[in-house]
Symmetry: C2
Subunit: 361 residues, 2 copies
């Protein structure tokens, strides 16, 4: 079976590393000449709206998926005429737009911070009156890793904020005094079977995920699975979905979803029986899902800007390096490392060991 992937970055690369042992082949459509997934499959170098090359991809592969949610809707619509695309266009439409996303949460009874649609500075001023400050103004589409958003703390932060984010459709979200950020990685098969990985506790630095720790028997696991299951079934979703929550007062408030394999699930390569990458491929290929159970205690640390010297990373016990083969650049995710240990206290000391390497790199 040949899998087409829209985008050829590290997520595509890790999909191919997981799918090659299943006998799958890969083609990546990505305009970047140095797309790092090309080491593991065919690279169709074309823009995402290039119908000629999209058609070529559709003709070559059995199923298409994508590694980022800002794929243009018309790209998915075009491809869907010729080949199955998973997750489906509706999932992408919702996940791509914070307004649709939050509206779906509300419709499904999933708690989420107060929010309002912002189409102008006037509507922002009105919304601030209802929601109060602090609040966060975010572009409805195209935001990631803390980009495309602005925290409004004081009334003077509100002035001109709509223009500051480019005068594009936005959403205002009430600020949530959360005690932690967790994500649930879920997978749904073509036949509707769903499986959930253990909740992951995430730490962000400057809006970019820094550390994910897989939890053991988290008290909110069942609640999170209930919420995520509602979204999966409503969207008739196929593949891996990541769902980010704020922990608030012992409960959960939905932050956002990503209709794809997710950075906070990278630990599953070593830390779960079957990784998020393999399970995504199993789902879209119509295969039975693999086990989402943990193997030991795991954590994942992102390598941002540069990868520390490989001989130092590999010298850390229980450490598994994932170098993405990308050019180093400040703020860019260029790799991650997973630590898998027998017990939580060893894990904590390994995290400290790796962090000291990252901070001095």
């Amino acid at each position: 079976m040949k899998i087409g992937v829209i985008g050829g970055g590290q997520l595509g690369r890790m999909l191919a590393l997981a799918g090659t042992p299943l006998g799958q082949q890969f083609a990546f459509l990505d305009p970047a000449p140095d797309a790092c997934a090309q080491a593991l499959g065919e690279h169709i170098r074309a823009d995402y709206d290039d119908h000629e090359h999209l058609r070529r991809l559709a003709d070559e592969v059995d199923v298409v998926t994508f590694e980022f949610e800002s794929v243009p809707a018309e790209t998915v619509a075009f491809l869907s005429q010729f080949v199955p695309v998973y997750p489906n266009a509706e999932a992408l439409r919702i996940a791509r737009d914070r307004w649709f996303e939050k509206s779906l949460f509300r419709e499904l009874g999933i708690p989420t911070p107060a929010f309002a649609d912002i189409q102008s500075q006037d509507s922002l001023d009105t919304a601030v009156k209802h929601i109060g400050l602090p609040a966060v103004l975010k572009t409805r589409t195209l935001g990631y890793d803390g980009k495309g958003q602005k925290v409004l703390r004081q009334p003077e932060d509100v002035r001109g904020a709509f223009a500051e984010l480019g005068s594009v459709p936005c959403i205002l979200e009430g600020f949530v005094p959360f005690t932690g950020e967790v994500s649930l990685i879920a997978v749904r098969a073509r036949d509707g079977q769903t499986r959930f990985y253990p909740l992951v506790h995430n730490t962000h630095i400057n809006g970019i995920l820094s550390l994910s720790v897989a939890s053991s028997a988290h008290p909110l696991q069942a609640l999170a699975e209930d919420y995520v299951g509602r979204v999966l079934d409503k969207l008739e979703y196929v593949g891996v979905l990541a769902f980010e929550f704020f922990e608030v007062d012992g409960g959960l408030k939905a932050n956002e979803i990503a209709p794809r394999v997710h950075n906070s699930g990278h630990w599953t390569i070593e830390g779960a029986e079957c990784s998020q990458f393999e399970n995504h491929l199993r789902a879209i290929a119509g295969l039975p899902l693999g086990s989402t159970a943990r193997v030991g205690e795991s954590a994942m640390l992102n390598l941002i800007g540069s990868v520390p010297p490989v001989e130092q990373v590999t010298a850390i016990a229980d450490c598994h390096l994932h170098h993405y083969g990308k050019a180093f650049k400040a703020g860019r995710k260029v790799g991650h490392a997973t630590l898998r240990c027998h017990d939580a206290s060893t894990l904590r000391s390994r995290i400290a060991e790796l962090q000291s390497l990252i901070n001095t790199a």
Copy 2:
């Protein structure tokens, strides 16, 4: 770092799957147009004695290794002028030839079946008188998977046997009434550090490895490590070495070595902290070695001739499929599956489950 591999079969393919996350790139020199490793790196399609292409490979990569031991000695000598080659030429010279191999075991005090160099039918007749029957006549070089050998049980089996194996240099080995076959996968770093995986119990069918089961605290582990360590140090070996033994009377007799990653070590991908493939690459790249400790109870079953339907293999719990992407052909290794379980009794039932699939495939 770019790694050159002589040979582009499944071992090269699994090396690349292990090395890509370390940031390594791969080039495979293999004359076969359909070499299955080419999905994961550059394919230099050339014969193993093609100096022009060997030179190109040497110029492109930082280090060269190989995935089979019958690489011509002059290929290694030629490459070694331009680029480090691991394991070294001496290791290859010994491992390629059963006479040199057995002579080294004897020199190092490692028990091995009685053996004699056979250069003619006359020398075979003489050797049979000393060693007795049953015995096994094997070509000194190029034998694998039970090919290039003949069991001599009766005096009439001896007649014409030398010609039957092609009138090439052979070795006669006394038949050993073994109770089991085990292998030890070892790795030695550039700085001389060595690590050993747990002993593996192997079952062959028609001379081809069928099943490998990783053992837990095998009583002969320390003895095997002692024997293998002698060979590693004597050869100043760098990389993974597989050492096959017969279990005889509660002790070990050396059968043969393979100077490379080995089929009986495939279970380490899921079943050990760091796989034989990653450890081979760490060794030849001058990186620290990874842990050889077990993760759960593991077994590996070869898929020979064909891979059963992927949806059936992936439906087995605890099962990890490795499809080599090769054309199916009777007697050909086209994949393997690893079972990793929490306990030995679950492992036994999973093995039975997978075997029933393989036998009916």
